[in-house]
């Protein structure tokens, strides 16, 4: 349940010793595995959202068109199930990664869960939240966030919740003949509502609030690609997560976590991918709004 600095690893990736003159070293925030998992998450999430919403808003012309674009409802169903299995896989790999890192870096669950880099909500998050509210209304300074802000933690656990709720109901709907050996038939109707509305929540939240928090807020506009490159400038780190920066400086670990930036071509490719994902996300949001507000039946 913890995201930690991929200490050492970053150093291996791009040996900070051989820094070319003129290039500013960047702080490595995400490990290669986590970056890969997030990219895969985007792909599976988008495919699940697209295929699922097509069914949910089947009464719109968009759904009709999209369904054909996706190769028919059976192909859409197949894509949806593949996406679901994929996402489950991502989730399991992440849990496995946690276990591995507990063994390698922390030794005990206690160190991992209650350390300063833990994803678990803590008292500090409450004070951060209150501080942030004050800052919003101009009654105080911006809280000095540590490695994880409270909204980042919220997003992280939202995935746990979503995987559990949507995953379990989805599985029931996938194998209704099997599950109705144990549960009554009408539960399939309940599962349908939960699955579909929870998915709407997930999709809606990710494509609006999450997008704003990470990409659209003025400091990051139009997008923040740290989750793809894993790197951010030390400046940004200092500005965004002052507490973490202080701690890194204090412990002298900052130097270990610096790496050369990617080649411009890599960054451009990443941006293209990110733009595509963002675009799709926004399109889905617009479609949902249209379907729910203007075409609702």
């Amino acid at each position: 349940m913890v995201e930690t600095n991929p200490t050492g690893k970053a150093a291996q990736e791009t040996s900070p010793a051989k820094v070319e003159p003129g290039t500013e070293l960047q702080f490595v925030r995400f490990s290669r595995l986590n970056r890969a998992l997030h990219a895969m998450m985007i792909v599976s999430f988008l495919s699940l959202a697209l295929t699922g919403m097509t069914l949910k808003f089947s009464y719109t012309g968009w759904a009709y068109m999209l369904s054909r674009l996706l190769g028919g409802y059976e192909m859409a169903g197949f894509v949806h199930r593949v996406g679901a299995v994929f996402m489950m896989g991502i989730f399991i790999v992440h849990l496995g990664d946690l276990v591995r890192r507990k063994r390698r870096e922390y030794g005990t669950w206690r160190a991992l869960l209650l350390g300063p880099d833990s994803m678990l909500p803590s008292k500090r998050d409450i004070s951060d939240f209150v501080g942030n509210m004050k800052w919003f209304i101009g009654r105080g300074p911006r809280p000095a966030y540590g490695r994880w802000t409270y909204w980042e933690k919220f997003d992280y656990f939202a995935v746990f919740w979503g995987i559990f709720v949507i995953g379990s109901t989805g599985l029931t709907l996938w194998f209704p003949e099997f599950f109705t050996r144990f549960i009554p038939g009408w539960f399939l109707n309940v599962a349908t509502i939960i699955h579909s509305d929870e998915a709407l929540l997930a999709v809606g939240f990710i494509f609006t609030v999450h997008f704003f928090n990470t990409h659209l807020r003025p400091e990051k506009f139009p997008m923040d690609i740290v989750v793809f490159t894993g790197r951010m400038s030390v400046e940004d780190l200092k500005e965004d997560k002052p507490a973490e920066y202080e701690q890194l400086v204090r412990s002298g670990k900052l130097e270990q976590n610096l790496a050369e930036p990617y080649q411009p071509i890599v960054v451009r490719s990443i941006r293209a991918f990110a733009w595509a994902a963002l675009g799709m996300g926004f399109s889905i949001v617009i479609w949902i709004i249209y379907a729910m507000v203007f075409a609702y039946k």
């Binding site: 097509t54 069914l55 949910k56 089947s58 009464y59 759904a63 009709y64 369904s67 028919g72 409802y73 059976e74 501080g131 509210m133 800052w135 919003f136 209304i137 101009g138 300074p141 911006r142 809280p143 000095a144 966030y145 909204w151 709907l173 209704p176 003949e177 099997f178 109705t180 050996r181 549960i183 009554p184 038939g185 009408w186 399939l188 109707n189 309940v190 349908t192 509502i193 939960i194 509305d197 929870e198 709407l200 929540l201 809606g204 939240f205 609006t208 609030v209 704003f212 928090n213 807020r217 003025p218 400091e219 400046e235 200092k238 500005e239 002052p242 507490a243 202080e246 039946k297």
Partner: protein, 698 residues
């Protein structure tokens, strides 16, 4: 055969006499009679008819006599005798030789001479074949009694008479039927007489239709003066045939103008064909003679292309070739143009009316008059189609002729002449069916007929009838909702049976609401194959037209949503409810009854169990009464969504202006520090503006 039987009985005494009776026989008879008389004297006297002493003996059924080696009855039924034409005569009136004799009398008696009273008949018989044979002593020759009977003769007018018209063929047939002694042993020129007669027009009329005025044997051959056709006096002699036939067929010359030219037929019979040359004797039927001689007379003028009506100038030309190959090729002109008068130089000049097809096609004529076409015709509407409009005139062909406009594949085009959009019938029509012909051609029926050439496919006339077309609103119409199932059921037999047992039938549905019939779901003219995508999708909205609520809730489920996307593989109304055999779930026979529902689910969901069938296929989360689980789940989820979005929204809404302001402040500060180096400026700006950073450090 009754006739045969009686004839045999009556011939026997004569035969006996002819053979010559031995001397002792009369005596034996006498002794027997005497004994009998003695035995019965008192008893008989007590009840004997005083007026008719003959009955004393002949009233006894046991009174017999030996004739040759046969015993014959001498019994006379007094009752029958008194009811016969001769009932008022005394016995001696006929048995004249007994006049004044002592009783009991000597036997045998002399033959009764019918000619004493029936002089003419006797003379006729005397010259006839029968009389001559009798005179020759032919044992097969008939006597009066052979045909008329003896003591029980009743008037010819009485149907029970042995010579009543209905019985004549049997009376004659007793000797002349195939295989009878006369037919076998005597020289008769015609064969199979009775068989042919019974199949002839005359025989059919008499024997099958009971027309007692029809010609029987005696009508042509006469009753008594039966002579061979070679005899000039015979009624069937060549020169006499015409007058014999015209006794019934009065003025038959009128339709045989060419053959007979007025009365020439009768006057110069030798140069002209006699009736029997065309209408074979005993076989007289229409089919045995050629027609058309008079027709050629008509065609002499009417094949000319420039022949026109003197009144309105329309062409009166007839295409002879067309006529020859038409259905009416064997029908004479005058049979349709019935007002012709043969005695005129131009027989057609008396024609004043149009051809009335109904004079032969009576049923069709009746139907037509009731149809909307006929009604318009009755109103003298210029748009009203008449028989010839569809069937043509001289070139009329049967509906099995592929050249005929009424041949199945030609019918849509035939009706289209008026019913195609823009044509005269379509212009008048105010109903909902548009582009009927085009739609029909694209429908399953139209494709079957026009593309696959299936002549058994439904055409316009199969549903609307050929001659009794009526608007749908008319209760008598074949396409009136009440009659539609029966109309469709003429071809779709099993379906109609299923439908009749379904909830959509008034008797079972028990509702005042209008119930659907075939065309409400299948449409009238755009009927599609039921296994095509288009139909499967269309049918859902069809059900929804009446079952509005329930159809809506269907679209809330997976089945409905996929269907709404235009895919047909998920369950549609009819997959669960059935198509034509829909019944309420409370009915055990319903596909959704407790007994059948699991099986119905298993059609698609192989592993379905009873619990699986508990899935709510029409569930809605808007009904807290009926589906509280769904209602509260939905509102719970909605609450969660709204809560989360409000939280996120407010957070964002507060953040955005603050972030913008911070950014603006930073930019201003950076502008001020412009001259200084980049790194320094950044550091300072961080130190000054980032007030937020300070508490973080502390």
């Amino acid at each position: 055969m009754e006739g045969n039987h009686t004839a045999d009985q009556r011939q026997s005494p004569q035969r006996k006499r002819k053979a010559g009776a031995p001397g002792w026989l009369p005596r034996a008879d006498g002794i027997a009679l005497l004994c009998l008389a003695g035995m019965l004297l008192f008893a008989a006297r007590a009840r004997a008819d005083e007026d008719n002493p003959c009955i004393v003996c002949h009233g006894e059924k046991s009174l017999t006599a030996k004739r040759g080696n046969r015993t014959v009855s001498l019994y006379v039924d007094a009752k029958k005798f008194s009811g016969s034409v001769h009932g008022s005569l005394s016995c001696t009136g006929c048995h004249a030789d007994l006049e004044g004799k002592e009783l009991p009398h000597e036997v045998p008696l002399a033959r009764v001479e019918c000619g004493r009273c029936h002089e003419t008949e006797e003379q006729d018989v005397a010259v006839s074949l029968h009389g001559k044979a009798a005179a020759r002593g032919d044992r097969l020759a008939p006597r009066c009694s052979s045909c008329h009977g003896a003591h029980d003769i009743i008037p010819v007018a009485n149907p029970k008479s042995s010579v009543a018209p209905l019985k004549v063929p049997f009376v004659c047939g007793s000797c002349h039927k195939e295989g009878a002694p006369v037919a076998r042993q005597r020289e008769i020129h015609a064969s199979n007489i009775l068989e042919n007669y019974s199949e002839s027009m005359h025989g059919e009329g008499l024997l099958k239709k009971g027309l007692v005025v029809t010609a029987t044997c005696a009508s042509c051959h006469t009753a008594h003066k039966i002579l061979p056709h070679t005899d000039g006096r015979s009624s069937i002699a060549r020169k006499n045939i015409a007058s014999t036939c015209t006794r019934c067929h009065a003025e038959i010359e009128a339709v045989h103008r060419k053959v007979i030219k007025g009365q020439l037929w009768e006057k110069e019979a030798n140069v002209l064909p006699a009736c029997v040359d065309c209408h074979q004797p005993h076989k007289a039927r229409k089919v045995f003679y050629d027609q058309g001689m008079a027709d050629n007379d008509c065609l002499g003028c009417h094949t000319r292309s420039d022949i026109r009506s003197s009144t309105d100038g329309r062409s009166l030309s007839v295409n002879a070739e067309e006529l020859k190959t038409s259905r009416h090729a064997k029908t004479a002109c005058s049979q349709c143009h019935s007002q012709v008068n043969a005695s005129r130089r131009r027989p057609c000049e008396t024609i004043t009316q149009k051809v009335d097809c109904a004079s032969c096609h009576a049923d069709q004529g009746q139907q037509y008059l009731k149809s909307v076409h006929g009604q318009l015709f009755a109103k003298k509407d210029s748009n009203a189609p008449t028989c010839d409009e569809c069937h043509g005139t001289h070139g009329v062909r049967g509906r099995k002729d592929s050249q005929s406009p009424s041949f199945p594949t030609n019918i849509p085009n035939l009706c289209a002449r008026c019913h195609r959009e823009g044509m005269k019938a379509a212009v008048r029509y105010a109903g909902t069916q548009r582009e009927i012909i085009e739609h029909y051609s694209e429908s399953i029926h139209g494709k079957g007929l026009l593309k696959s050439g299936l002549t058994v496919t439904a055409t316009c006339t199969d549903c609307h009838t050929a001659h009794r077309e009526l608007p749908m609103a008319d209760p008598g119409s074949s396409v009136n909702p009440a009659n539609v199932p029966a109309t469709c059921g003429r071809c779709h037999l099993g379906i109609e049976d299923q439908f009749k047992r379904s909830i959509h039938v008034t008797q079972i549905g028990k509702t005042d609401k209008p119930l659907p019939v075939c065309n409400d779901c299948h449409t009238a003219h755009t009927i599609k194959r039921a296994d095509t995508e288009g139909f499967k999708l269309q049918i859902m909205s069809q059900c929804g037209r009446c079952h509005e609520k329930i159809a809506e809730t269907y679209f809330d489920t997976y089945h409905g949503k996929v269907s709404q996307l235009g895919y047909t593989k998920t369950a549609k109304c009819y997959d669960c409810h059935g198509a034509h055999d829909i019944l309420p779930v409370t009915d055990a026979r319903s596909h959704l009854s407790r007994e059948n529902v699991v099986q119905t689910c298993q059609k698609c969901h192989e592993g379905a169990t009873r619990r699986f069938a508990g899935y709510l296929t029409h569930a809605t989360h808007h009904d807290p009464e009926k589906y509280p689980f769904l209602f509260w789940t939905f509102w719970g989820m909605t609450g969660l969504l709204v809560g989360t979005f409000v939280l996120g929204g407010v957070h964002t809404a507060l953040w955005l202006p603050r972030a913008l302001k911070t950014r603006r402040d930073q930019a201003r500060l950076r502008d001020k520090k412009e001259p200084s180096s980049n790194d320094n400026g950044r550091d300072e700006s961080n130190g000054e503006s980032g007030a937020g950073d300070e508490p973080g450090k502390s």
